[in-house]
């Protein structure tokens, strides 16, 4: 099995560890029979694979490590590295995920 290394990661995804934005909450919803992502203005329903990725971002993790972990757990998923990266780009654009750098910068400016 080939572990991913940094050079295979899309350049738009930061190298710093990623983490779920504190405003967002993952939750299983019985009535909708799926996981949802909750945030102040509403919610989005998540596919199983989207949930699988986000649930691993509750603690800071780099995109490279995340993909390596997922490849280990799902060795048969052929397009996994590409699919995960596409999803990460989407999640970053929507602020579901933030880079931990941003987070620490924010904490600093807030504690002044």
């Amino acid at each position: 099995m080939t572990a991913s290394n940094d050079s295979t990661i899309d350049h738009t995804i930061p190298a710093a560890p990623l983490m779920m934005n504190g405003k967002y909450r993952l939750q299983w919803e019985e009535a909708q029979d799926c996981h949802v992502l909750l945030y102040p203005e509403g919610l989005v329903k998540l596919s199983d694979s989207a949930y699988e990725v986000l649930s691993r971002c509750q603690q800071p993790v780099t995109a490279a490590d995340l993909i390596a972990q997922l490849q280990q757990d799902y060795p048969d998923a052929e397009t996994l590295a590409r699919d995960v990266q596409e999803f990460l780009i989407h999640a970053l654009q929507h602020h579901w995920l933030i880079t931990t750098d941003q987070d620490s910068a924010m904490t600093e400016s807030q504690s002044q």
Binding site: R25, V36, H95
Partner: protein, 377 residues
């Protein structure tokens, strides 16, 4: 196709805990007929039951609003119960009644999000339009919420008399450390409709406020997210009523009536079911009220044969009724409506008004309070 309640999950429960409010905003969306006393408000047990029933129907977003929800002495208890049920809890507040200790307790209880409203970007404007001496307290509480790490949004309601303050307000929000700001233009229902002539901006004013918002966004980038919600009078297609009547939202009023949208009480010829005598599931799925404007079967022309009818569902029923007198009419915001001229006339009147920033002494704003509400009983 006839839509029924079984096809939809009420994702949002809006719990209007009380109409009591220490502020008196002249654009308030609460009914003009404010109750004289709080005696008929739902009890703690009744609210707990409402939340439980809504959760069982699939509601997952809960907005505590009002009036001022913090007026309720049992707020902390309701919050804790709601978090325990798995709701994502939002508190929509003026910050009056909030203290640093409460913010800490709400954080511990698991409150997910607070929205604090401002009425102006400086002390004078804020305190004039809220009719309360609250500006410095709002700033303190904004800092407190950020310090305790509860996700926060600031809300600035825009109208003719404060719209020039957009940049100043955004600068203020940024300096306080806010991450999210909503610049919400007044929508003309209830008190705002009554005061429309004094609140409605001109087209030019609105365009300038939007441009100022964009300039701010360019200058500061992603540091703070800013949403500018334009008033629908200035569009040529209406907005869906509450994301579609009876599809997403359940509003429960302080006295227990259940509404498909916050202002539905103005509509004539409808009965409003109450959680005091019916369960929420049968209200959502079977009540005449919730089924009346679900889907598109109820429409008249031009909506009935319009190719866009699924996109806006004919717009807002309350706006249609308030402006045309007919709750089944096409929302007059739509340029295809035969009554669009009513909206254009209101905009033209606003643009002609010379005194854009001053309160016109001959037509004073009517502030929202129980005394002023008496004339509407």
């Amino acid at each position: 196709m006839t839509e029924t309640g079984a096809n939809h999950i009420p994702m949002w429960l809006l719990a209007e805990l009380t109409y009591a409010c220490p502020l008196q905003c002249p654009y308030c969306s609460n009914p003009l007929q404010l109750p004289a006393s709080r005696k008929k408000e739902l009890s703690t047990e009744q609210w707990l039951s409402v939340m439980k029933q809504a959760r069982a129907l699939g509601a997952v977003q809960l907005g505590f609003s009002g009036g001022e929800p913090l007026v309720r002495q049992d707020f902390q208890e309701l919050l804790e119960a709601a978090v325990g049920m798995g709701f994502y809890c939002n508190l929509i507040t003026s910050a009056v009644g909030l203290t640093d200790e409460k913010v800490q307790a709400f954080k511990q209880a698991g409150l997910s999000h607070i929205q604090i409203s401002f009425q102006g970007s400086d002390e004078t404007t804020n305190n004039t339009f809220g009719a309360s001496n609250s500006f410095h307290h709002k700033m303190d509480m904004t800092r407190s919420v950020i310090r305790h790490g509860i996700p926060l949004g600031l809300n600035f309601v825009l109208h003719r008399q404060n719209m020039h303050q957009v940049t100043a307000f955004l600068e203020l929000a940024l300096s306080l450390g806010a991450e999210f700001v909503e610049l919400a233009n007044t929508q003309y229902y209830a008190w705002a409709l009554h005061n429309r002539d004094q609140l409605m901006p001109s087209r030019e004013q609105l365009a300038e406020a939007e441009a100022a918002t964009n300039r701010f966004k360019e200058k500061h980038g992603d540091k703070m997210r800013v949403f500018f919600v334009a008033p629908d009078y200035f569009h040529d297609r209406p907005k869906k009523c509450s994301n579609g009547w009876g599809t997403t939202f359940l509003t429960v009023t302080p006295e227990g009536e259940v509404l498909p949208c916050q202002s539905a009480k103005v509509l004539p010829g409808l009965t409003f079911p109450s959680v005091k005598d019916q369960d929420l599931k049968s209200i959502w799925r079977e009540s005449e009220l919730f089924n009346r404007f679900r889907g598109t079967d109820w429409m008249q022309e031009p909506c009935a044969s319009c190719p866009e009818k699924e996109q806006d569902l004919g717009g807002c029923r309350c706006q249609a009724y308030l402006l045309t007198g007919d709750p089944y009419a096409t929302d007059p915001v739509c340029s295809l409506s035969p009554k669009r001229h009513l909206v254009d006339e209101a905009i033209a009147a606003a643009s002609q008004d010379q005194q854009q920033h001053n309160i016109d002494e001959t037509r004073p704003l009517l502030f929202r309070n129980p005394r002023n509400a008496k004339q509407f009983q």
